[in-house]
Symmetry: C2
Subunit: 351 residues, 2 copies
């Protein structure tokens, strides 16, 4: 949730529409369908609008590397492996994460309309991007929604000096009132992998206790910091381990054990989407009103010394969204350079 | 997960059977049915066996206070408010938490057998005790299971100097192999409310950063520490806030907003149980093998300096369970005194 402008001097200002068009064009030229390219553009630029630059268009070069390596399939054959009255497992055939998670959450919502609750697993996808996109979309459809993603080892397990579990994100969203959905979107690490990348690019030292270097020694050097530590020590890595079980093992596509054993950096992810149809359980208007009342209650609490304002989940992102929708999205020098290379390669005009 | 023996010199050693008989007798004499009294005994003594003394028989006096105050109904009329193909909402009529959560998880499992996934809300219950009891029981039935509980304000919201959200616990369990289920059971706070009580009884100072006093000032004094701080700052209190939405607001029984506004300490909780039938999604034997492989992978990671052993979720509890099943359950002087008063009041022999 770091604003690019705060960590890295913006080199350009662009609009969401221009960034979406650029992203769509790049992935379309790279071989994806128009529909899939548009989904990736929507998901990445949504993160940029919300100030989560680590999960925005800065990811385009990574997605292209995955395409080049054959880890991301531009023309996946998405099939259903398992179908129950309330659940579905998709074989995503290495589809782009935004395509897979959009498909999974839509199916979870559909199941929830029938069964009260719906569950979908996205087996064998790639970087799932900002999970809050899918949960907040579900919340706008009247759902309480949860999403998890299981991925390759990149976070330290508590007590270990090695990357052994993923920074497995957790997102939970519920319908809200005037503010829109209330959306939690967090990594199970104390700093996200994207946060480390941004610190490295900006050359800013990393606070003590957040990261290890490649040999597993604690470091504050942004050039050396490679492995985020788990949130709250054992709790963060335990959550991540359980998410590997709930996503990868339930989808019969284990990631962690093999990757730790072989040291393979081969990228893959599995995702989980859960939707609960609020209207089947509570009066939707009362539910929304209660969410707003809860927000108001938190925001008017007595504050600790030095705390200017109490924030609720997603509030910083909501504000960035409003500001950036109005004023434009700042891009750092490093991002502009990256996107320029992408534009040249695919002969697509820069945004 | 603090062993009583480590924080508070044991004054007596008893067996699980004796403690269960005592607990059952107390609640039976107090007006609960034999069945309900036995469930409470099972759940509380399970926590004692696993070394989670804060959630064991030390809670008996609290449960009796709730009975005396009319907050816990000894003869609840448990009814179904909502029933869908995959979900059920129970009105628990202030049933004891262990009774409510056992009922909810059993219903979630039953729904999962039909629909692949099952969801149950326990509306209007009381202290739900150790959530790991319900999730690990579900895991022994072949389920991946999740449980949450929403409760009264007792944890600081990030940035606030007041108890504003619950220490809302999260438990996740999956079937395992020889080790039994892999079970995460954690509070969303850096220290549990029970942990503060134990420190107060033992007179041990509390580490900096864990708690606030009743005025919201940081403290390490165990006599003054009243309000646990959230896990990882904003992430812990955000998780807790979302759990209030997923449990209390979905069950149409909001707790937090009113309690913060009125300062009412009236006890109530809402619980959530989710069960996923592993066999519908994966080969159950392979799933268990993969869980074991994941455990082995974590345990053989290179360790940080000073770390004697890497632990997986629930491992400390599993070991305490084996040791205490064999050697008995130690009770602190304060617990013996509490239980003696209970024994005298209900004319039940001490364990």
């Amino acid at each position: 949730m770091t604003d690019a402008a705060a960590t890295d001097r913006p080199a350009a200002l662009t609009t969401a529409d221009a960034l979406r068009r650029f992203t769509r064009d790049v992935f379309f030229v790279a071989g994806l369908t128009d529909e899939h390219a548009k989904i990736i553009a929507d998901v990445l630029v949504w993160a940029d609008l919300r100030g989560v630059d680590s999960h925005g268009v800065t990811r385009i070069p990574m997605y292209l590397r995955l395409l080049d390596a054959g880890d991301l399939n531009p023309a996946p054959s998405i099939t259903i492996r398992t179908d129950t009255p309330a659940a579905v497992v998709f074989e995503m055939d290495r589809a782009a994460g935004p395509v897979a998670m959009t498909t999974a959450m839509a199916a979870a919502i559909q199941k929830a309309r029938g069964a009260g609750i719906g569950f979908a697993l996205a087996r064998g996808t790639t970087h799932t991007a900002a999970l809050g996109y899918y949960t907040s979309a579900a919340a706008r459809d009247g759902m309480a929604a949860i999403a998890f993603a299981g991925s390759v080892p990149m976070m330290a397990y508590h007590g270990a000096r090695a990357a052994a579990v993923s920074t497995s994100p957790i997102s939970i969203a519920v319908p809200g009132g005037d503010h829109g959905p209330l959306v939690l979107d967090m990594a199970t690490s104390v700093i996200s992998a994207g946060g480390l990348t941004q610190a490295r690019r900006a050359g800013h030292p990393i606070a003590p206790g957040l990261a290890l270097d490649k040999n597993g020694a604690p470091t504050t050097d942004p050039a050396a910091a490679m492995i985020p530590r788990p949130l709250g020590g054992h709790k963060g890595s335990a959550l991540s381990l359980m998410i590997e079980c709930l996503t990868s093992l339930l989808a019969s596509n284990p990631i962690i054990a093999d990757a730790v054993k072989t040291g393979s950096g081969r990228h893959k992810q599995n995702g989980l989407a859960l939707a609960i149809d609020v209207a089947r359980f509570a009066d939707p208007t009362m539910f929304r009103d209660e969410v707003e009342r809860l927000i108001d209650t938190m925001k008017t609490l007595p504050r600790e010394a030095g705390v200017a304002e109490i924030l609720v989940p997603g509030e910083r992102g909501d504000r960035a969204f409003e500001r950036r929708s109005r004023e434009g999205i700042p891009l750092s020098r490093a991002t502009v350079d990256d996107l320029t290379r992408v534009a040249e390669r695919f002969r697509v005009p820069m945004p």
